[in-house]
């Protein structure tokens, strides 16, 4: 029983991290109609900015987190305005541009910081333990921060005028523009919010796992998987799917092993998609 509870905690922890990543990914698709292959790059960049600020410059970790969030937000904004906006109506071009930008980001980090992992540890150590149930304090803090960020995104999207405008643009970009919504500000804002979330996740998660230039690859894969399962463009769907993926990953790996666990996860996702091709909360036809 204790093992079952410990595994559940791991699954929830994984789910919260996947949610933060998937929210950004699905926001960009829902509002801009762009599949952002550079998402993993912003995650890595967030990690390296936080590492540089805290380990090299000696700034407090919380300040490093905020700088990582700001840096990835600003870079996302600039990328949307200067590059993505020019090809926004050409889906193939947006795929190529975001994929190319990911390669530029990852290679740039490789050139600047090298291929080896630097020492980047979470400032809080120690483990909460009751019997065989354990939960590292660092993971608790990350879980709390992820949940706070998720609540903020939901509040922003569903309880503010900015969120209403974003959802209106996701529904029908042309009509929203005709009604006077400032698309030239809201599009870059949505993109920057998503990349900022990815950067924040990177800054939070890489110190408890590992930081290296390539760690964005699996992030992209899991974000994509989660968003497809939740339904492309659905914020609620992405959140539910992220926790499902996290819990299945944890329980399958613990009770079936690493190889069979991964297989189980992908088979289950496949079955769900066969039953509901539009994903858990997705619409059958995307109108925006």
């Amino acid at each position: 029983m204790e093992g079952f509870i410990a595994t559940g905690l791991i699954g929830i922890s994984l789910g919260s991290q996947y949610t933060l990543l998937a929210l950004g990914f699905t926001l960009i698709f829902g509002i801009l109609g762009v599949v952002n292959f550079a998402h993993g790059g912003f995650y890595v960049m967030g990690g390296y900015v936080a590492y540089y600020c805290s380990a090299v410059l000696g700034l407090p970790y919380v300040v490093a987190l905020l700088i990582a969030l700001a840096a990835t937000f600003v870079l996302g904004w600039l990328f949307e305005v200067l590059i993505l906006e020019r090809v926004i109506d050409d889906h193939q071009a947006t795929l190529m541009v975001t994929m190319g930008f990911y390669l530029v980001l990852a290679t740039g980090i490789l050139v600047i910081f090298g291929a080896e992992s630097p020492e980047f540890s979470f400032p809080i150590s120690g483990v909460w333990r009751v019997g065989d149930v354990y939960f590292p304090y660092a993971n608790m803090v990350v879980l709390g921060a992820c949940l706070a960020a998720i609540v903020f995104v939901f509040w922003l999207v569903y309880r503010t005028n900015v969120g209403r405008s974003l959802r209106a643009m996701a529904e029908d970009r042309t009509v929203a523009s005709a009604l006077g919504m400032p698309t030239k500000i809201l599009f870059p804002f949505a993109f920057a919010l998503a990349t900022g979330l990815a950067g924040l996740t990177g800054a939070l998660v890489t110190p408890i796992l590992a930081l290296a230039p390539h760690v964005g690859d699996p992030v992209l894969a899991f974000s994509f998987l989660t968003v497809i399962l939740g339904g492309l463009g659905s914020v609620t769907g992405a959140t539910i799917a992220a926790f499902i993926v996290g819990l299945i990953e944890a329980y399958a790996a613990v009770y079936l092993g690493g190889s069979k666990g991964a297989l189980t996860l992908f088979v289950l996702v496949l079955v769900i998609l066969v039953i509901r091709p539009q994903g858990l909360m997705g619409k059958e036809v995307r109108r925006a």
Partner: protein, 390 residues
Amino acid sequence: MISGLGRLFCGTLLASAALSASAFACELKIGSPAVLSGPAAQWGMALRGALEFVAKETVEEKRLVVNGETCTVSVVAIDSKYTAEGAASAMNSLAAEGIKVIVGAVGSPEVTGMKPIATRNRMVAMVNSFAKDAIGPQWPNVFHIGPGPSGWAGPIIDKGLELYKFDTVSIVAPNDQGGTDIAGVNAEIFKQKGVTPTEEYYQRGTTNFAPIVTRMLAAKPGAVDLASSPAGDAGIIVKQLRQAGFTGPIFRLGGPGTEEIGRVAGGYNVLQDFLWFEPIAMDDNTKALEEKHIALMGKPRPENADFFRWVYAARMMVKAAQAAQSVDDAQKIADAMRTLPVDDENIGAGHWIGQKFFGINQEMSYPFAIGVIQAGEQQPYVRAEAANEG
């Protein structure tokens, strides 16, 4: 018009002359499918660093003279991404450039992908890989830079049993050939030493090992072996093992990389009790090699100690080219290699082995060391003699 044609003709002649001069210049081109990205990049950087060092050393000290002409050495390293297809693609590119001498790759998946291409294109190769079929009679011109765990896991386990009390071990590795071959060999050797092994495999690309660690610890192992898990992965596994309350010794019977494992885990105090295979026994001679690297290359050697093994391999390849009096005849170079004694001016002498394990006597064996961290403190390396089949 005639004058214009004349100038064109003269220009063509001059260009042809220049081209033929460069075509006949003596140059040993060493190709290398090296992993330069991903969690295993540290190994590939040690390989590339060693090749660049040996190339410069050979040129500066005029170590390669063919038919009275001093030869240059150049290195072409292509990222093989630690995959069979990446290494195959790199080897095809190297073959297209006419390169016949290969040093690398590092890992089993890469070596599996590259061997058929080396054989098809009549190349001579010096590879790593701890796979059960790293070399073999079907790839006659492929040599092995040193024994895998079959050669050195036994003495390291003996050292672990001398220091700690345990009778069960959980072995964790990636679920591809780069992991399963090594974990299988390690499990067999643990069994021979009276330790009951369980094997756990994970999908390459896993970033959070907490579920796998939970599964491993459910079996209550007395020790853990990280086998050939890349350093980045191994660091996370160690960190999460210690967080989960595991206090037993951790083995790394799969290659060097302890510095990076320590960095990712959060320091040697997190590693606590840790034993690993160190490719060479550090002494004054190997320290002299480190100093020579700084003098020649203007920077310290690559961090991963596999650097030394690749220096050994590359120097042997240069010696073989010298003995064969050829920089591009792979068959002659391979024949010459078989006649050379296994010896290096800094790392020491050893012998050719491999007949018993691989069916071909083309594996270099030389002294190695056992690395030990006890209670978070690194201990002096324990020197171990070269594995011998005789």
